[in-house]
Symmetry: C2
Subunit: 399 residues, 2 copies
């Protein structure tokens, strides 16, 4: 089987490495050898042992012997155009591109389905952690009710630093940048945009309906202060950037927000650059998938496992329930009740109705925090403005 | 598609419930409805809504319309004989029976392979946690180096009780029995026999070669004392019953033993009846699968997910690397070095060579414990008898 790789960056070159190194084992798994016939990249790689580089996409598109193409370019353009052309030409496509899957997954999966091909994307969420395939091939007999995920290693590293070293967000971000865990422009990570695309993908798989990630309410971690961390720690919680999706009466809801996570919840123990995803279901039992959410070789391994699956399923579409997005199927979650942590400036009233805990700051006498009972959006909006003489400083959901 | 269920106990009746309840969803996933045509059980179930009970296995074997049979009988006989006959008759078989898979998996998989059928067993390890399928369909591009698992909920509940309440093994066992987590005869759980079969299955999947579980060195948790727990806690460890398998130069090794697990290891945080499995690989990154390792509906869901997969793969054998067991491929692990916890009676020498920590008991002046550097079997055997005037009381590996 001849394959091609589009995009020879970290993951793409990892795919080249894994396929070359594990050639013998892959023959056993696929029943035939995997040969890399083309690598598309605009850059030159004179030192690479692989010698099949091209700058022309048509070399791949027009090579009838290429049956599977790996897309590790990232971004929407030209990855979308290339992927569509390849599928229409009868080639299977494997991707690690969360952006493209979240944006055009419905259409690309539909094209693959109609042509008995496969468009597979295990590496688009959670790096080397098997999560996508378990969702469409293991958790198939019952319905999930919720998915909660720590889906971004950069923000989890920053939050872990803030907890373990009492650092501010800014200084923890700097440490992450120095370690190479955060990019020079960290916006996509720290503002939750990366998590947003990933939870949109998981929501589509969990509930069978695409959602529009642009309509997912998304809040990052930039406003979390060392004081919030101190309150959380004192009250028995960790703070994690959570992607959450859930099927509600008015449609599928997905949201991204920093949350208080009780220390008994297994997500609370996921530190540093690790990712973890909990799938909850009434009958499924809660299951968690955990591992390093990024990294060249783990992610490349996930891509190559998809390549193996595509080779084993030539002319057989693997059923992935992921129907078209319709606005009326997507909920904004206004009816969904979470408990909240709210930190106020001002003097704490003697009694805050409906709040189980009132904690006083050690550093300032003029502030306090409460943990509320579960409240929907309207209720929490009303609550934060209901305490006379007190102003909300920060507010986070509790999961 | 007509299916049959053999054994209408906890899991078998759960399968009936899941198939009935999720009929509509399953049609979408399989492309056709699933109809339960026969249920084989020697008992009568006059109150069941399902009305297709039989006491005669031939009703299933001879029904040409039955394509998939669920075996939730447990035990070797007659499950082995029935399964073999069904596969030879061209029917696919799904099982939750770890005993049978560990004992005759090689042969039954071979028969299925030769006939383009499937023999699937997701529910045989970890209940509703997807672990078997991820091993053969996700972690396929690279080689695992190790699998570590907490695979038995009963023993994990007992150890958690011992840790959290300072209870003795005997009293924690009683509590587990009262809660229905341990059977009246708890031998299979507390002596590690259940974990032994499960790690044998995982070893076969991880390394592609069956191992003989009867040759797996297996130690249970009955000898762990409240003192051991106190030492572990003080030194920053938890104690867990671990199934471990690893590819060594002289073959595949598997072992079952209670181990000190450092609190930073995610397995240390797995408490109560939960299970967790870590798959380690140089290129895979470490991934962990976590959830409730038992329970009627989660386990039944895992069985039904296998039924769905079998229906989607009619006449297509799903490749599961699991070759024949040969004695020369199985290692006893004598060369494998673990660090150890050793508790001695006697007076601690001023200096114990090669040991990083010496802790003194709070309850007795005449005992102490050490944590050794990694030692292979010969080295640790030599070490425990090397301290003059000191006798080993207990010894556990550190993972």
């Amino acid at each position: 089987m001849k394959i091609a790789i589009m995009g020879f960056g970290v993951v793409g070159s990892g795919v080249g490495e894994v396929v070359t190194k594990n050639q013998e084992m892959l023959v056993k798994k696929c029943g035939e050898p995997i040969e890399i016939a083309h690598i598309l990249d605009l850059r030159d790689f004179p030192d690479s042992e692989l010698k099949c580089f091209t700058k022309d996409f048509n070399d791949i598109l027009n090579d009838d012997e290429v049956g599977v193409v790996v897309e590790t370019m990232g971004g929407i353009n030209p990855a979308y155009d290339f992927t569509k052309k390849l599928l229409l030409a009868g080639k299977q496509v494997i991707t690690s591109n969360k952006e493209l899957v979240a944006t055009h997954g419905t259409e690309l999966l539909q094209i693959a389905r109609e042509r008995n091909l496969n468009y597979l994307f295990e590496a688009s969420v959670g790096g080397g952690i098997p999560i996508i395939r378990p969702m469409y091939s293991c958790l198939t007999a019952g319905e999930a009710t919720d998915v909660f995920g720590i889906l971004n290693g950069t923000t989890n590293y920053i939050l872990t630093q803030m907890f373990q070293c009492g650092e501010s967000f800014e200084s923890a971000l700097k440490a992450a940048q120095q370690k190479g865990y955060a990019e020079a422009d960290p916006t996509a990570d720290v503002e939750g945009f990366d998590t947003c695309r990933k939870i949109a993908i998981l929501a589509a798989l969990a509930f069978g309906k695409a959602i529009d990630y642009k309509k997912v309410s998304t809040e990052g971690i930039t406003k979390i202060s060392a004081e919030d961390v101190a309150y959380a720690d004192k009250l028995g919680y960790s703070i994690k950037l959570i992607g959450h999706c859930k099927k509600l009466e008015d449609g599928v809801y997905a949201g991204v927000f920093p949350a208080f996570v009780p220390k008994g919840n297994p997500l609370a123990g996921i530190n540093d650059v690790f990712n973890g995803i909990i799938v909850k279901g009434d009958d499924l039992g809660d299951v968690m998938f955990y591992g390093r959410g990024a990294g060249k070789l783990p992610t490349a391994n996930a891509v190559v496992a998809d390549v193996v699956d595509a080779i084993k399923h030539q002319n057989v579409n693997i059923v992935i329930k992921w129907d078209e997005h319709k606005d009326e199927n997507q909920s904004q979650g206004d009816s969904l009740a979470y408990a909240y942590y709210v930190r106020f400036s001002g003097v704490a009233p003697a009694n805050v109705p409906g709040c189980s805990v009132v904690a006083f700051s050690e550093s300032s006498e003029n502030e306090f925090a409460v943990l509320t009972e579960p409240k929907n959006k309207k209720q929490i909006d009303g609550f934060v403005n209901s305490l006379e003489g007190c102003k909300p400083i920060s507010i986070m959901r509790i999961i």
